[in-house]
């Protein structure tokens, strides 16, 4: 069957663009003006490497074709292009519906364009029923400074699926989104591993103190790993802050806390530090306690 768009479908697309996803035409231009410069900078950064030449009509045919693997390849190629038609093709295809495997790649590819007119489609796909598609949409939306994009990423923290929540956590880590602190801590308590690097990335002395209060509430290993990651940061300020984090780590039960203390105590540094000595002391103390335990 010949896979060309029918006039009927063109009309349909126009209908969807204008009413459904709300993208295209003047609406899109208006959105473009509203998007924060960050999106433009992302786009600029993405455009910095040599942009490969892509046969958009050819890739379009493949994207809409029945061969899923070839469609995925086409979506990837269209994502590398910075041509307006490439993004249009991706958005058209997503609007008309793609197999979930293809859609996941197409969403990522559309996000790579970092064009405001992709926002409505990405927002829709951030609530897609297939988890992988949702993950890619959240990751793509993370590249936008648009308020609606931020709301969508924020909602992803409460998603039922761990992998989607992890996507939101990675976004917080990448953006060093300090406002995400309470949600990340709540997810840490529930055992979401992706919170650890994110919390470490946004940690402040105050956040480290709040984390210390989660001893016995959050999973021990995850909390210890998080505090260990925070200790690895060099920019937390006074030595006393590190000492306090070490003390907190010392209160966390389990092997992971000892691993983190040992890692910290053993790290090579030019100047001897109080916090490292304290880490060593705590390790020895725990070692003695372990020996005394029958």
């Amino acid at each position: 069957m010949k896979r060309t768009l029918l006039p009927l479908v063109s009309g349909l697309l126009a209908l969807i663009f204008d009413v459904g996803f709300g993208i295209g035409g003047a609406h899109a231009k208006k959105k473009a003006r509203a998007v924060a410069p960050a999106a433009a900078s992302v786009a600029a950064a993405a455009a910095a490497p040599a942009v490969p030449s892509v046969d958009v009509p050819g890739e379009r045919k493949l994207l809409l074709g029945a061969d899923v693997d070839r469609a995925i390849g086409a979506a990837r190629k269209l994502g590398t292009s910075r041509a307006r038609a490439a993004l249009d093709t991706l958005l058209d295809a997503l609007a008309l519906g793609l197999s979930p495997r293809v859609a996941a790649v197409a969403v990522e590819a559309a996000g790579a364009h970092a064009e405001p007119r992709a926002l409505d489609v990405l927002l829709y796909y951030a609530t897609h029923r297939q988890v992988d598609v949702r993950v890619r949409a959240v990751e793509a939306l993370g590249q936008f400074d648009d308020k609606r994009a931020r709301v969508a990423v924020d909602r992803a923290y409460a998603d039922a699926q761990k992998v989607v929540r992890a996507a939101a956590c990675r976004d917080a880590e990448r953006r060093k989104e300090k406002l995400a602190g309470p949600k990340l801590m709540a997810l840490l308590v529930k055992g979401d591993e992706a919170t650890s690097p994110a919390l470490a990335a946004i940690a402040s002395p105050e956040l480290a103190r709040q984390l210390a209060e989660l001893v016995g509430i959050a999973p021990d290993a995850l909390l210890a790993e998080t505090l260990g990651r925070i200790l690895a940061r060099k920019d937390l300020g006074k030595e006393q802050v590190y000492v306090q984090i070490v003390e907190s780590l010392g209160k966390v039960p389990g092997d992971e806390a000892e691993v983190q203390l040992a890692t910290y105590a053993g790290a090579q540094e030019k100047i001897p530090r109080l916090s490292k000595r304290r880490a060593q002391d705590l390790l020895e103390q725990r070692s003695q306690e372990n020996k005394g335990t029958p």
Binding site: T4, P7, L8, V9, A83, G97
Partner: protein, 619 residues
């Protein structure tokens, strides 16, 4: 000759045996039935009690309460309902219902002893030992006599009615060749159900049968005496009066209340049930009534029949079956209750004694007797008490039953939901929603509540329904919406456009199950032209995005609902979308089939549109 003498001797012996069997002359197969003269003689013999007065010689409204627990530790309490205080309490191994005469109360105590006690202070006056191999089948009292029925369980069973006088002496015995039920007595007459067909009326002094009624078109399994009449029957109630001799429902004073099929309705304990000779589950499931006769037949007092089912009282208009009031007795089963005239007196398992206004269901009083109870006999005709607080509305009463945590009463709750559905007011929808949204509700109850809620089409309850859709799935908060499908159907039935945004929000939620999504889509279709157009873009997007999803190909009902909704609401554009879905190769096969079928149903087949050149991108 010898043979002739022998035959004569045998006949003489047989005659003697039959005459011995006949005892007092009652309960023979050949006695005269349905004789108006006999019946008139019985009425003439009766010294009718004053209506609305207790039997006991103290003239006080009394409740005789039997405590729960092992038989050896049981107690019998006399409680003065008027004074609201204990009259007396004695140790008594009561194992049957308590029957009340003028100066005595009596019951079986232990395995096989009938003990009569003073109504004044509960002290034992006399006792009577049942013969070995006999079974106690129930008793009645009148004046200072006690009448009880026993069955001799030998090689051949036989039944006897025994009259015990002061001191426990046997005044007379009437034997029967067939089953006798529990007797009833009043005004010098004893009323005996016999073989579930006859009501024998005996002179209490002699045991001689005065009259006998053969009920021709209804079994007879109870007889009840009150201060204002004698009643008998089974499915319905006969009043004993001058018309009773006809022996048919049509000609006698007969009637029954219109009661809901969902609830078990029994007018009196089964006289022929050995179990019901004592307090049993029957006492917790019965109709409480008072009746009288007029030219239209049997009439219920206040045109009311009150149905007790364990903890719940439902008062029905006896003629129409309409629910008048409801009372939910909190927490504990009501083990005995009686309609004593202007109130329903009751006692509960946990020793609560109280009264409800018959006309309104308002609680007149309730107090604790300090003992757990297995049953009670009320001798309190004419007792009244004034309720100080207004009764709950029928909606409140039914709602409290529907919400009740007691899991035993599925059938009652189903009835309560049905009854709620017939009532008006926002409180009804609120009550139904509370049931539906409570995840601990039993599935059949929740399902029934959903049916009623949807059928109500209660537009005034729209804010409540929308509020029910407000919760969202949130992993962080640990929240999730409940019964979105039911609420969606209810909103679809109401058909108001205000519901569209909330429905769309749930449709877009990936945690919304496919089944629920289907109901949302159907509801959007039902909301229809009144505003469903607002949902068109979302409907189109949903269909297009998921038409290619293999996960939805195995469950096409969701997308079929979307297709149907689009065709109903979308006009030409909606049809174009469906046609595209039907014809595009990317659509999952079953979804495409569904689209084609839907289009075909609308008499405009999906035609292949002319091809268009592929847009050329400008790179």
């Amino acid at each position: 000759m010898n043979q002739t003498i022998r035959r004569a001797a045998v006949l003489a012996i047989l005659a003697l045996v039959l005459s011995a069997c006949a005892g007092s002359g009652a309960f023979t197969y050949s006695a005269r039935d349905n004789d108006p003269t006999d019946l008139a003689r019985a009425f003439a013999l009766e010294s009718s009690p004053a209506a609305g007065t207790p039997r006991n010689s103290l003239g006080r409204p009394l409740a005789f309460l039997v405590t729960a627990g092992p038989v050896d530790g049981r107690k019998l309490l006399a409680w003065d309902l008027d004074a609201k205080q204990l009259l007396w309490k004695v140790s008594a191994k009561v194992t049957s219902r308590v029957v009340v005469g003028s100066k005595i109360v009596a019951a079986r105590e232990g395995a096989n002893t009938i003990v009569a006690r003073s109504v004044t202070d509960g002290r034992a006056l006399w006792s009577h030992q049942l013969p070995e191999n006999s079974t106690f089948l129930g008793a009645a009292a009148d004046g200072e006599q006690v009448f009880y029925v026993r069955r001799l369980d030998g090689a051949r069973r036989s039944w006897s009615l025994v009259a015990l006088g002061p001191g426990g002496s046997v005044n007379w015995t009437a034997d029967a060749p067939g089953t006798l039920g529990t007797p009833a007595a009043r005004g010098g007459l004893v009323y005996m159900p016999f073989l579930t067909q006859w009501l024998a009326i005996l002179d209490a002094k002699t045991g001689k049968q005065v009259a006998r009624l053969l009920q021709k078109d209804e079994a007879l399994n109870f007889v009840r005496t009150t201060s204002d009449g004698v009643f008998y029957g089974s499915k319905g109630i006969f009043l004993l009066d001058e018309h009773s001799f006809h022996g048919t429902r049509g000609d006698a004073t007969y009637g029954g209340a219109v009661l809901p099929d969902e609830l078990r309705a029994v007018y009196h304990s089964d006289s022929f049930s050995e179990v019901q000779a004592g307090y049993s589950a029957f006492d917790r499931n019965r109709v409480l009534w008072r009746a009288f006769g007029d030219k239209n037949g049997l009439r219920f007092q206040d045109d009311l029949a009150v149905l007790l089912t364990y903890r719940f009282f439902f008062a029905f208009d006896a003629t129409s079956g309409a629910l008048r009031w409801v009372h939910n007795h909190a927490r504990h089963d009501v083990v005995s209750a009686e309609h004593v005239g202007s109130v329903i007196a009751y006692v509960s398992l946990e020793g609560e004694i109280g009264a409800l206004d018959v006309k309104t269901g308002a609680l007149a009083f309730q107090q604790k007797v300090g003992e757990r109870l297995i049953g009670a006999t009320f001798d309190a005709d004419g007792f009244g008490a004034v309720a100080k607080t207004p009764p709950p509305t029928a909606t409140e009463g039914l709602a409290s039953i529907v919400w009740d945590r007691d899991a035993r009463f599925g059938a009652v709750k189903l009835y309560a939901i049905t009854a709620l559905g017939r009532l008006g007011g926002a409180g009804v929808t609120e009550a139904l929603l509370r049931v539906i949204l409570d995840e601990t509700t039993a599935q059949p109850v929740s399902q029934k509540a959903a049916e009623v809620l949807i059928a109500r089409k209660d537009a005034e309850a729209l804010p409540l329904l929308l509020a029910a859709l407000a919760p969202r799935y949130d992993f962080l908060e640990g929240t999730k919406p409940r019964a979105v499908d039911v609420v969606a159907r209810a909103l679809g039935a109401i058909g108001r456009t205000e519901a569209v945004p909330a429905l769309l929000a749930h449709l877009a939620n990936p945690e919304t199950s496919l089944g629920v999504a289907k109901e949302i889509l159907s509801a959007l279709g039902d909301i229809g032209a009144g505003g469903g157009e607002n949902a068109l873009p979302a409907l189109r997007t949903f269909l297009l995005v998921y038409r290619t999803d293999p996960a939805l190909d195995s469950n096409t009902s969701v997308l079929t609902a979307a297709i149907d909704a689009l065709l109903r609401l979308g006009g030409g554009a909606g049809r174009e979308t469906v046609a595209f879905v039907a014809g595009d190769a990317g659509t999952q096969p079953r979804v495409a089939d569904a689209a084609r079928r839907a289009l075909a149903k609308t008499n405009a087949p999906a035609t292949a549109a002319p091809t268009a050149p592929t847009p050329t991108p400008a790179e």
